[in-house]
Assembly symmetry: C2
Homo-oligomer: 240 residues x 2
């Protein structure tokens, strides 16, 4: 079932769900055809590593569907998730053959891959893709630095609210403003804790507090209803 869906995608970039947001978004027809010609799909089941830190990594990829995390771990096992990768996000680094992070599939993952060498050749000749890549890199850098503000300065409650709003913004939502927003959290409590520089207990407690304060409803632990986003945003009015 999953495979047949992957096969569908192989046949047709035009219907690819991330066609207009991924690395290929800015390519003209010719560049697009070239990308199309060298791409191949890969599935990674939930929980499995896409790549490990220090490992050789000869592909770059876009996420077509699913969620992955970037993380680093200390020798004694403390882990920090340094990025949450959602559909259209880019994996890998042209010009570098070894992986700086652990990349882990959080859900089943479909990747649109390119051999790194071929991709490197291509960007030399495709100014659209090249520019897009530079823009992606700088956007990621801005995001990482914004996350540094979160990790260094915000309280546990503010961190949780920031995370919820991040998920809201990355969700494809019916833009009926003022409607209650419903989101599915892409990460477990444990992964949220690691992403936010907290413990799992603190995450759980703060979620409960937000619920008791009427700012969110928890249909299940992972499915959150936000009756009024603006009321949630008040929690961040001093932060950022």
């Amino acid at each position: 079932m999953k495979i047949s869906r992957t096969e569908d995608l192989r046949l047709d970039c035009q219907h690819c769900p991330v066609r207009h947001r991924a690395i290929c978004a800015a390519s003209d027809d010719e560049q697009f055809d070239r990308l199309n010609a060298i791409k191949f799909y890969k599935s990674v089941p939930a929980g499995q590593a896409v790549a490990l830190r220090g490992e050789r990594l000869d592909v770059v990829a876009s996420i077509v569907s699913g969620v992955a995390t970037l993380s680093k771990t200390t020798v004694d096992g403390r882990m920090q998730i340094t990025g949450m990768l959602l559909p259209s996000d880019f994996i890998g680094r042209p010009g570098r053959d070894c992986c700086e992070h652990d990349i882990t599939a959080v859900t089943d993952l479909t990747l649109c891959c390119f051999r790194r060498r071929q991709f490197e050749d291509l960007i030399e000749r495709a100014p659209g893709i090249r520019k897009r890549l530079l823009d992606i890199a700088f956007d990621e850098l801005d995001a990482a630095r914004n996350w540094m503000l979160l990790l260094g300065c915000l309280t546990a409650r503010e961190k949780i609210v920031s995370f919820l709003m991040l998920v809201v913004h990355r969700s494809v939502l019916p833009e009926d403003a003022d409607q209650p927003v419903q989101i599915d959290l892409p990460l477990s409590r444990e992964a949220m804790a690691s992403y936010l520089g907290l413990t799992i207990e603190t995450v759980s407690r703060q979620m409960s507090r937000l619920r008791k304060d009427g700012l969110i409803e928890l249909e299940t632990a992972r499915h959150v209803i936000i009756p009024d986003t603006s009321r949630l945003l008040v929690e961040l009015e001093n932060a950022d």
Copy 2:
């Protein structure tokens, strides 16, 4: 005096102290001449802003001498330094006309500037510079993510040690291994605190503890002698 030194630099990239590490490092003779032709120098006195968040920024630049910080501030005044910029580091973002961070001169600063438009045109035609820029962006991204591990997972003591080792690595040192290493801290206690996600008191206390433990000597608050780097590194053996 400062101005005459700046004037010297204007006349001669060949003797520029960051010639082989900055954005111009990978350029061939022709590209180098083009960069040379459009560059101009700018001095910023210590304490002054180079650019403010949200402000229009029509130049990109390399730091020739001095130290600057990138920072973000919350509405209620909590600040996180997201980057420390030393000589050869790059400022600005091609393809984006507004500044995402506050950039502040920590010491007197000499910048080698390019008008952004001219620079953008140039990188389209200069593959060496273009590649170098992409590499710089990805290196900065790796550094930012490593700093996220520090902010999210490390103890105050580990943070201080990490910072000291960062300064050691960025200092141009006589590589007589096993010699006591001497460093001048580029940041005040306050700036260190903000960079490490701590308070100034905690920074001060941890520095004192490291001194009492014989791992560092403080000739002045800013001048640190590390009798044995390997002994300091033991403090990090569980971290990263």
